[in-house]
């Protein structure tokens, strides 16, 4: 968009005919062919302004932690969390195993510092 013009642009639309239910998108927030809530003219990019994004911060979905989040003490779980301690123990054990492996395997990711 040229920033020099303030004229309104028509929102691009397209009509799709579905041949089968399976063509429906798997999200409620989408329409067939890709849903664009707020797009640049031409309908190519989904953009969200700061205000809108912040308004979504307290939506019910955003209050639930994502599933399958790795347990990283001090990052995804508190540093003092029991899982944190378990994790440390596990890492220690893994390290020992790694050391055993390292004896037979060259570490090709070693970096010069």
């Amino acid at each position: 968009m040229t920033s020099s013009t303030n004229k309104s642009c028509p929102i691009p639309t397209k009509v799709l005919t579905l041949k089968d239910w399976s063509q429906l998108p798997d999200r409620y927030s989408q329409t067939p062919g890709g849903t664009l809530f707020s797009t640049t003219p031409g309908g190519t990019r989904i953009i969200y302004d700061r205000k809108f994004l912040l308004e979504c911060r307290n939506s019910p979905i955003a209050k639930t932690p994502p599933c399958c989040l790795p347990q990283i003490p001090g990052v995804t779980v508190p540093a003092t969390h029991p899982i944190g301690k378990l994790q440390d123990l596990k890492e220690e054990m893994e390290e020992e195993e790694e050391e055993d492996k390292d004896n037979s395997d060259d570490n090709q990711f070693e970096m010069d510092i």
């Binding site: 999200r27 849903t35 990019r45 302004d49 979504c56 979905i61 994502p66 989040l69 990711f109 070693e110």
Partner: protein
């Protein structure tokens, strides 16, 4: 996706129990799916799928071993779900990083989509860890997921926050250090979003120069 639907259904049911019960006393019919009708349960898709990485400086491990994928997301709500449940940068240990990159781009110079690129680098002083770091990082994330730089957003690869004793750093990585127009659009837009004063300027450096620098300073290709 079925999982997600099931979850939404669950929370709908739970929410309903805390609301005034309707007068009817009909038996619930679990066979009929309760579809969320409220806007609350709509997820807003992002232009890109993003991956959040965590780097912990453990000297006993190699650099790549220290880099861990935390999670990926492609909706506004899933972004917040992640953001709301992880530690803020200012509370991370020294030597730790968060990296948010477009899915498929690894947060390292060597990645094909980074190797010709560079970064807009913002260096913070020690006081700013308490005053500005978390706020700036959140704004940076919003700029990325919201695609704030118009068509130049295409050039954005990701962003990195480094927590360091000498002073923290936040950078936006772009794909090609020769794309002057896109880089300048991103740089000035970013500076505006962070509400930074015109001085000091922020600088753009190519990854090539950063990785091959001999002294402590890297050549600035652009400034804004």
């Amino acid at each position: 996706m079925h999982e997600r639907r099931a979850k939404q259904k669950d929370s709908t049911v739970k929410m309903a129990t805390s609301e005034p019960k309707p007068a009817d006393t009909e038996e619930p019919q679990p066979e009929i799916p309760v579809l969320p009708t409220s806007d609350q349960y709509v997820k807003h898709p992002l232009q890109n799928r993003w991956a959040l990485w965590y780097f912990k400086n453990d000297k006993s491990k190699s650099w790549t071993e220290n880099l861990r994928l935390i999670s990926k997301f492609d909706t506004v709500e899933d972004f917040w779900a992640l953001y709301n449940h992880i530690q803020q940068p200012s509370k991370l240990g020294f030597g730790c990083d968060y990296c948010l990159f477009k899915d498929g781009i690894k947060p390292m110079w060597e990645d094909d989509r980074n190797k010709l690129g560079g970064r807009w680098l913002m260096t913070l002083n020690k006081q700013q860890r308490h005053n500005d770091l978390d706020r700036y990082w959140m704004e940076t994330l919003l700029c990325l997921v919201g695609e704030s730089f118009d068509e130049s957003s295409e050039d954005v690869c990701g962003a990195v926050v480094n927590v360091r004793p000498k002073g923290d750093k936040i950078a936006i990585w772009t794909s090609n250090c020769q794309n002057r127009d896109a880089i300048m659009t991103i740089g000035s837009g970013y500076k505006g979003r962070l509400n930074l004063p015109s001085k000091p300027m922020i600088s753009y450096q190519s990854h090539d120069d950063t990785s091959s620098k001999s002294g402590s300073t890297t050549k600035n290709m652009y400034s804004v």
